[in-house]
Symmetry: C2
Subunit: 129 residues, 2 copies
Amino acid sequence: MDTMGRHVIAELWGCNVDKLNNLKFIEKMMVDAALESGAEVREVAFHKFAPMGVSGVVIISESHLTIHSFPEHGYASVDVYTCGDRIDPNVAAEYITKQLEATKRESILVPRGMGPVEVKPYKVETFQK
Amino acid sequence: MDTMGRHVIAELWGCNVDKLNNLKFIEKMMVDAALESGAEVREVAFHKFAPMGVSGVVIISESHLTIHSFPEHGYASVDVYTCGDRIDPNVAAEYITKQLEATKRESILVPRGMGPVEVKPYKVETFQK
């Protein structure tokens, strides 16, 4: 298997607070995001924190998706890493952004497995509720 | 909980091929890396691919560690993401680098949860076997 991969790091702000604190919703959303992008789901692990917040990961054949939610800040920290060029990590990142109703997304794309490369500056986008 | 976090992305090359293909070794190493850095382990999920390669994640109270190994390339793609300033993600990244006997590491530190920030250029280090 080729080592080439693309890793989207997305910082989502202004998200729906109830969704951010709902483990079942987050877990289903992350699995659906993987499937939407055409990835094959292998393992799923999620954890709910007290008093709030959810962390979780979906391991896919093509690498992983992770999320850490901070309901008290309306913030979710999202990673979508896909190996190869068959799956576009942006599809899953877009899906998660919409599902969480984020009003602002800061994101970078990190090339993986291709040697030392330059990371382009953050892209900042704002969305209407 | 504060949203501030640090995310080390480490590309490890020239690793021990047998270790890269050993699920039990990789899983224990990743849990130990989390513990070495003082993190609290919450969930563990690993997967072995055919014909080779291991993917896995350790969810910690302070975020996550992930790995994807490509034994045929002597390559491991590692992420260590820790929230707050109590845990230093570099401690876990160093531990993994040594355990896998990597001869070269390319790494960047991505600040998380602090708004749009500049990622510093890759750091490339080489190590003797």
